[in-house]
Subunit: 342 residues, 2 copies
């Protein structure tokens, strides 16, 4: 066995190796790397040469310890496989890829308790910013966010009482708009089919209910929900249930596009005509909605843009200029398609 190197770290070049080679003080190297404009042209060149020659890469752990601030964005989403959050996360990643910030992604599994645990873990790293999905944090989580000592952006939804900043849209309005569209199209026995029923789904349901009540069409038997995670096959099953419960059903507003697709397939399978016999509206407007036959009406949401905007706001806050607009509503768009064109 070879005796371990005297240096515990394992012999990677350190900042003082670079400093020695460049003939400057260690702190100057540190500065040249972080605030190049504060170091003279000449030293900067020498230092860069030494860095390249030694293959020096700063140790983020040491950096974080010394500066009491890690170059990490903490991101908390309820699901990794749900395309909706995947798009938000992609927006976040793309916006951060050219920055020095790393991303710490946490999956809360739609659990408030898990969110608290992850917030605790993330907080212990002193992140540069925190991005969390939703606005329904537990009191404990909310406190953790308030005391995080960094910019916080709540995404996906807007609401009256941000911890710090918010980017999203109103799910209630989205649900209402979708339902009103069906009513205008002439449907009247309009069902709601919702899986998972997380807070955002609940608010879409509330929007549905508001629209239905305003039109005098609401009937609790039209609503079919389950806490089970959403999927295309679940959409099919729930549609069957809804139809068994209310055979006169003539349209469905679906919680999301997966459910809507399941409904469409079941209609095909049982030769129910869409949009003639049944109208279908989805939510989120995944790519497949416009390709489906018939194409499916849906509420287009700007997921990728939400991720990008959240990062932009956090970055601005880190840089010191808090945006005057702390709540950004990116809205949504009703995409009218064949599935509701009676």
């Amino acid at each position: 066995m070879i005796k371990p190197r005297s240096r515990r770290g394992g012999g990677r070049p350190t900042i003082s190796d670079v400093a020695r080679k460049a003939g400057v003080g260690a702190i100057t190297v540190s500065r040249a790397l972080r605030e190049p404009e504060r170091v003279s042209e000449e030293l900067r060149r020498q230092i860069q040469a030494a860095v390249d020659e030694l293959g020096y890469v700063p140790d983020p752990n040491a950096r974080a310890l010394a500066s009491a601030r890690a170059e990490v964005f903490g991101v908390l989403v309820p699901s990794l496989t749900n395309n909706v959050f995947a798009e938000v996360v992609r927006g976040i990643y793309d916006s951060l890829s050219d920055s020095p910030f790393r991303i710490q992604l946490g999956n809360t599994h739609y659990s408030g308790l898990e969110e608290e645990r992850l917030l605790q873990v993330f907080g212990s790293q002193r992140p540069a910013a925190l991005i969390v999905a939703g606005i329904d944090q537990t009191p404990v989580s909310r406190k953790l966010l308030e005391n995080a000592g960094c910019p916080v952006v709540q995404v996906m939804e807007t609401g009256p009482d941000p911890v710090d900043m918010m980017v999203g849209f109103s799910h209630l309005d989205g649900g209402r708009t979708a339902t009103e569209h069906l009513i205008e199209a002439g449907y009247c026995r309009i069902g709601f089919i919702g899986a998972r029923m997380d807070p955002r789904s609940q608010r879409r349901l509330a929007g549905y209910r508001a629209a239905m009540e305003a039109a005098g069409l609401f009937d609790p038997r039209l609503v079919t929900t389950t806490p089970v995670p959403s999927s295309v096959s679940l959409g099919r099953e729930m549609f069957r249930d809804a139809l068994a419960k209310v055979p006169t059903l003539d349209a469905v507003f679906c919680n999301n596009d997966d459910i809507a697709l399941g409904v469409l397939f079941e209609c095909h399978r049982t030769s129910i005509l869409v949009p003639k016999t049944i109208g279908i509206v989805g939510f989120n407007d995944l790519d497949m909605m416009q390709v489906a036959f018939p194409s499916i009406t849906s509420i287009r949401t700007h997921r990728y843009e939400i991720g990008r905007r959240a990062v932009a706001m956090a970055l601005a806050a880190i840089a010191g200029d808090r945006p005057e607009q702390r709540i950004v509503d990116l809205g949504f768009e009703l995409k009218r398609r064949e599935s509701t064109a009676r």
Copy 2:
């Protein structure tokens, strides 16, 4: 302005605060937290009480710096929104949620250069393990992996020459199996439709070609590919192109399920009968495949399990017992459905 606290870190309790309160040495607290069995029952209790009372949370950055090892799994995937990788990542997250390990997720965007850059960044943190998608790393990436000084698991594919460990399956065999199934079902003008054409897609194509040549059916005009990222709408367009090129086409093996779904919808739209006029096979077997009408034959792959297995192997290696089986082939399964039931 209030004078900043004397302590730079911002006043969070440290290990020596705990030590003082519990009336022990700092190192004993450290041990009680990391190797409780090496500390007496009594001190352990005292220390735990002090930890709870102060709300002490260890600083992972300080820990990483002192021990030259961060409790981080680096995970590199080519896409965050592709459901296939999302499932793998979910398996990884679920397997690691009860461990002290954090996850650093990187998105390479299918770029070798980006992979190199991220490997460099990840490596600078001294991760506990590295999980990377694919087996086609650039020479630079491969060197970085070999020198990472931690267990490395390559996932999604198997191949002859692992950096360290591997979990996946043979995409070539998958492509061959899918194609052979179509041949057995009586199709003969079988097209291949592939988007993105990353290395895994290339190997599926190679499997297709092998099967077609073995049956004396291969014709280069049957192959339609594009480097454009895959989507349902792209599947529809490519199917149109393929049909325009070869009007006698009687089946398609699709690169993945999104493409297959696009093909199915286009068949509906143009009243092409499935499986009578056109047979369809997908790849990955997303949930929607069995719900589609007609249901779509696909190659079921075990994505979630790949993630779990990769973590299990890495964890074992960290614990010191390298598994005797360094290459794990989880295989795949042909799911025969209506879309090929002539």
